[in-house]
Amino acid sequence: MLEFKVNGQLRRVDVHPDTPLLWVVREQLGLTGTKFGCGIARCGACTLHVDGSPVRSCSFPVSAAPGHEITTIEGLSNDVSHPLQRAWIAEQVPQCGYCQSGMLMTAAALVRLRPKPTDEEIDFAMTNLCRCGTYPRVRSAIKRATGQAEGRG
């Protein structure tokens, strides 16, 4: 039995310790906002926070979770009130939306470290893949959320 905090609540799961955290949050905990994309930590669709840092949970064994606080997209806010979520809506960022949970979690970790990220910081931090190509709107939304002038019309 493994025990760790997810979105502020203590959760217990009885799974094989090698199970990726991604599948534990999706299957055992029913938090399906975190998505499976590649299984090799390349695409970032499964990004969640471990103690506030972005982690690609498809490659993070659940055995490493105890003692840490996990935050998933469902825990970013409970009412779509996180500044990034609001900016994502204002900029109408998502297309298919499948990558956007991970995109938002990566962005949330970025703006915690860099309250006003530069273009270059956004370039290096936002390595999540979006097949639809929402990248320019992702950049705009991060800037909007951090109170920086819009780069594009």
């Binding site: 809506i89 297309q95 949970s101 273009d119």
Partner: protein, 746 residues
Amino acid sequence: MSALARLLSPDSAAEGMSRRVFLFSTAIAGGGFLLGAASRSSGATISGAGAVSPQPGEFPLTPWVRITPDNAVTIVVSQSEIGQGISTTLPAILAGELGADWDAVRLETAPYALAYRNPERQWMFTGNSESCQAFYDLMRQMGAAAREMLTDAAASRWGVSPDACRTEKGFVLHEGSGKRVSFGEVAAEAAKLPVPAKPRLRAAGVPDLVGKPIPRVDIPAKVNGTAQFGIDMQVPGMLLAAIRTAPTLTGKLRSMNREAVAGMPGVRAVVALENGAAVVADTYWQARMALKKLPLEFDPGPNLDLSSSSVLAEYRRALENGPWATPVNEGDVSAGLGRAVKKVTADYESPFLAHATMEPMNCTASVTSDRCEIWAPTQGQELAFFALKQALGLKDDQIQVNRSPYAGGGFGRRLLPDFVVMAALISKAAGKPVKIIWDREEDIRRDWYRPATATRLAAGLDADGNPTALSVRVVSPTILHPVFPSIGEFLRQKGFDPSAMEGMLELIYDFPVRRVDFHLFKTSVPTSVMRTTGYGPNTFALESFVDELAHAAGSDPYRYRRRLLAKNPRALRLLDRAATLSGWKKPVAKGRGRGIAVADAFGSYIAQVIEVAASGPEIRVLRVTSVVDCGRVLDPVIAKSNIECGVIFGLSYCKSEIAFDKGAVVQGNFDGYELPYLAESPELVTEFQPSGEKLGGIGETGPVPVTPALANAIFAATGRRLRSMPLRRNGLRLGFARPPKGRGYA
């Protein structure tokens, strides 16, 4: 209208009707059944046949609109939301025509049913950028029909003329008396009225929801994790399945040792597939762990010598030798080339590409001996329905095809029913509802690829540099056959795939004489529709070639295109605007260059200018300027995002390709099949210049000119002409659009 749309259109040619019925309603995969409704006239699908069943307390006015007494209006969404925003735009057309309160409208995902077919095709699918084109009138009519029924019911209650009533924000109002009643209060009476066959549309100028930016209905759920994709579907008692198929394309399962995993945690069943195996378990990860331990032996199949170089050699042989079908033969091309003072010939090659939707293929199925129900992230409900019917030997009323509310990208991949049938067969074998989830490797290695093509263009130029003739040869496998199997007969008779010819059958440019030959390339590589279909590779070849002609004529590529577009004011206007907007005439710094391309694709025109900076192997795409004429713009924000996301998608066509070795697909994940990153994304400048012409598609238009505009820009920057994609075939790669500091960039 696109060449494909015209070919498939019922009213374009004498044989159009028979061809349409032939294409969309005859035998699917040799099944030999006819669709009963194939001859129904478009727009007249107000039958209720197979529509969503109303919930208790709901009153259905048409298959598209249901209203409860407490005034909840539900509108059915037939078209698959694969990211394009269709689940906002189409219901908004209906709601505006109805006079509903948009903020209070509920949306519901349609199952497969005749009522929800594309009215122009009589086939339920989402693709070919035609949802708005095909459904616009129907949405208007369905909104108007419901409005008329509600208005008639209210008017009769009040004893007034319905002509003196109107609707607004979910109420019927009587102008003279100021009476008002909610839709819900008269819904029961309205539902008893006959559905008007020819409902009157609102007068022009009455405010509705068309042409305005409407916040997308799907976005709030996509920023808090609650949007339900196929992979998130839950069915009571459901098990999970992991899949492994043969490493080679044509491999088959020879044997496996089920006993090896029988006692593993959670494992409930091991199912043999024709070309692989599935482990069914309580959870997906249990299934994955067991699958890894399952000894599988494969018969590798007949095509072990398939490799990228062997395929390329075959393409090149076909490009020399044919044989050819000749869908276009206008004038004496030999004579035209003969009188030229200069002849230009060039060969172009486009690669095999994978869809790589972010959500891998998955499907949930519940199959018993006499019933099949599936829930899938699908674009191809009708093909899935018939494929299930054939695979399971069930009757029409024993099969229910449901779409998950959202699909993580589509790009044509989800038109195919393979993953749906696989889920059904596994559920049947396991005797339980099962959700299958392909891992990324299965998703990429079991794709139906955008076909590679080889194209040869030859033109003659006169002393002024004007073309005297154009000859085109295209070598491509089929695109349409897997999604419209009944086109097989057409392919055999005519020898060309109309989708693979898109962008070559009709040109925006004026060539005095012209011939197009097509060779239907046979390959063991599965190929089918992918965003841009034939327009992608054909526009790459044609627009690169026109650039080469400009160079041969000693002319600026923009000015040269102006010459060839003298008789096409619609294209010329966009070209001029793109040149102005991109600052075409302004000089660029050393190492930089601009490329231009223009296309008529999916019923819309697009002109694009790409500016790059080239530094050694690195190509930084700085800015992409797109000017689009899609007739009219239904929603400016959604339309813009379709074009702009399409541009980034187009860059993916320049970045990676699917390769083959020893009969197998080389790439299996995003480490080998690389997609563009945010850092590589250029500044985007996008403008709509609607002409008021017939509504065109926008879902696939954006990426069409990207490959040639980029190749032309690289030529302008470096003097090096790229005649193949992706960039890495040419030793080039994408770089950061904004140069990181301290790395020696200019």
